[in-house]
């Protein structure tokens, strides 16, 4: 029984090959989808030759990076604050629980009015989408810190600040990491979705353009790029998280 990563790779390869065969054989019409091999070619072609590529890519990735940073840092701090104020937490609880069932994309036009058309509104969209995941997991993470750790801190006569940094933060890290992974995914989605709707620059805009112009090659190249980007980041975070859990908990 070989290790799971090997089988995952096999599944991935198998999936891609299946799609390739389906496309080439005409089961899936070439109008709908081009074979994966052609997608890769289109992607490489786009990176090499499209004059808009690097500026749009930089635009999108910058927005994503800032959105991620905002949702993680702000989410963590807000989570700390809410946890320290139980009354506030009780009042906000329904909001935190229902947040992801509400179509927040409806506020996008509102954001444009406030922040104007430009990177700021996109960044806020991304951060808005990811921040609540971070807040929720910060709350859970702090909840789950074993109470005996607090006692150890008091026996050691540690100040509140020292306790927070030296004990609470490391103790909460695994669960925080899970939230972080989720927040990253949502931030990416938020920014890209924003670029679809607001569309002045960025890869999301290019995607909409190529769709409207029936430019399948570019469209699939972009889709592939974004998928790979999101998947790679997620795999990286997931394996980092797994390493943390392995060190902490017995198998």
């Amino acid at each position: 029984m070989r290790n799971p990563a090997f089988w995952r790779l096999m599944i991935l390869v198998g999936g891609v090959l299946t799609i390739e065969v389906l496309c080439r054989s005409g089961v899936v019409s070439s109008y709908s989808m081009i074979p994966p091999s052609q997608m890769v070619v289109a992607l490489v072609d786009m990176i090499r030759h499209a004059d808009w590529f690097w500026s749009d890519a930089r635009y999108t990735f910058q927005n994503i990076a800032v959105a991620i940073l905002l949702s993680i840092v702000l989410g963590f701090v807000i989570g700390l604050i809410i946890h320290a104020l139980p009354r506030l937490r009780r009042v906000l609880n329904p909001v935190l629980l229902s947040y992801y069932s509400v179509p927040t994309f409806v506020f996008y036009p509102l954001l444009v009015v406030i922040f104007g058309i430009g990177p700021s509104s996109l960044i806020v969209m991304g951060a808005m989408f990811g921040i609540v995941a971070m807040i929720s997991s910060t709350l859970t993470a702090i909840d789950r810190i074993p109470r005996v750790y607090g006692k150890v801190a008091r026996v050691g006569r540690m100040s509140g600040w020292q306790t927070a940094i030296r004990i609470k933060l490391p103790a909460a890290t695994p669960r925080l990491f899970t939230g972080l992974t989720l927040a990253v995914a949502y931030s990416v989605t938020g920014v890209i979705a924003g670029e679809f709707i607001i569309a002045t620059a960025g890869l999301g805009r290019q995607l909409t353009l190529s769709y409207n112009e029936f430019d399948s090659a570019t469209m699939y190249g972009l889709i592939l790029l974004i998928l790979i980007f999101a998947a790679v980041i997620n795999r990286f975070l997931q394996s980092w998280e797994a390493r943390i859990y392995r060190r902490w908990y017995r198998k």
Binding site: Y149, K151, V152, V155, R247
Partner: protein, 265 residues
């Protein structure tokens, strides 16, 4: 062991106030207890009688509702005094640190210089038999070893009073007996005063100079018995005929209280 009183509890009670549908809970007391410097005192009693509450009050982790606690003449209130070490029932080893860093944890905070830290940590690790595992993480160790890490972490701070709350509760009998021996070694080496809470009568009988027997809730001391064991005892003391007598006497005192605690008539 001198006659010098290190810890004095006077008329200590702990009452949890009534709230949201529950009435007042009279958890402990009133209790009076004096711990002499360097002695080993065991506290036994039925479950729920307030033993752990007592320990937390002595440590300064909880305040008594009435009465007072003093440590080396100073009132204990709201904070843990310097020189007190506590080993808890739950595993308090930090999973993100190696054994070595766990043991060194308190020292680093205290601003001791690096060379001294290494010396004390190495000594504590060797003393607790953890030498082969200094770079391991707690998740790789058994429950007993993790408790040893917690004990080493406490030992390294050179406490003058060591409080243990059912530290071996989760361990099997053989491990407990051996850990008990290690605790005795620790006690002799550091000359600290030790207060051990345990539900195991034989453990208390074997390890202690005196055993205080608590009633069911609200816990009060029914009796405090002297064991008169020699200081250099180890687990083989269980073979001494007086050991069996002593343990039976403990059980006699506790039996009724235990039945009360369990609701059996």
């Amino acid at each position: 062991m001198t006659n010098d009183i290190q810890v004095a509890l006077s008329e200590v009670t702990r009452v949890y106030p009534a709230h949201s549908g529950h009435g007042e809970v009279h958890a402990l007391g009133p209790v009076d207890l004096n711990l002499r410097r360097g002695e080993f005192v065991g506290i036994v009693g039925p479950s729920g009688c307030g033993k752990s509450t007592l320990l937390e009050i002595v440590a300064g982790l909880a305040n008594p509702t009435t009465g007072s606690v003093t440590f080396e003449g100073v009132r204990v209130r709201n904070q843990v005094p310097d020189g007190v070490g506590v080993v808890f029932q739950e595993d308090a080893s930090f999973p993100w640190l190696t054994v070595r860093d766990n043991v060194a944890f308190g020292l680093r905070r205290a601003g001791v210089n690096e060379a001294e830290i290494n010396r004390r940590v190495d000594h504590a690790i060797a003393f607790m038999g953890l030498g082969a595992f200094r770079r391991a993480y707690p998740s790789q160790l058994s429950g007993g070893m993790r408790q040893r890490v917690c004990i080493a972490r406490t030992l390294v701070m050179r406490p003058r009073l060591i409080l243990l709350d059912e530290p071996f509760g989760a361990l099997d009998q053989q491990t407990r007996l051996l850990m008990g021996e290690e605790l005795l070694r620790l006690w002799r080496e550091t000359s600290a005063t030790v207060m051990l809470i345990t539900h195991a009568l034989d453990e208390a009988a074997m390890l202690s100079d005196r055993v205080a027997v608590m009633s069911s809730r609200p816990g009060r001391f029914i009796d405090i018995l002297d064991t008169n064991w020699p200081r250099d005892r180890d687990s083989r003391i269980v073979a001494d005929p007086r050991f069996g007598q002593f343990t039976s006497k403990l059980w006699e005192l506790i039996r009724e209280e235990s039945k009360k605690a369990m609701g059996i008539q």
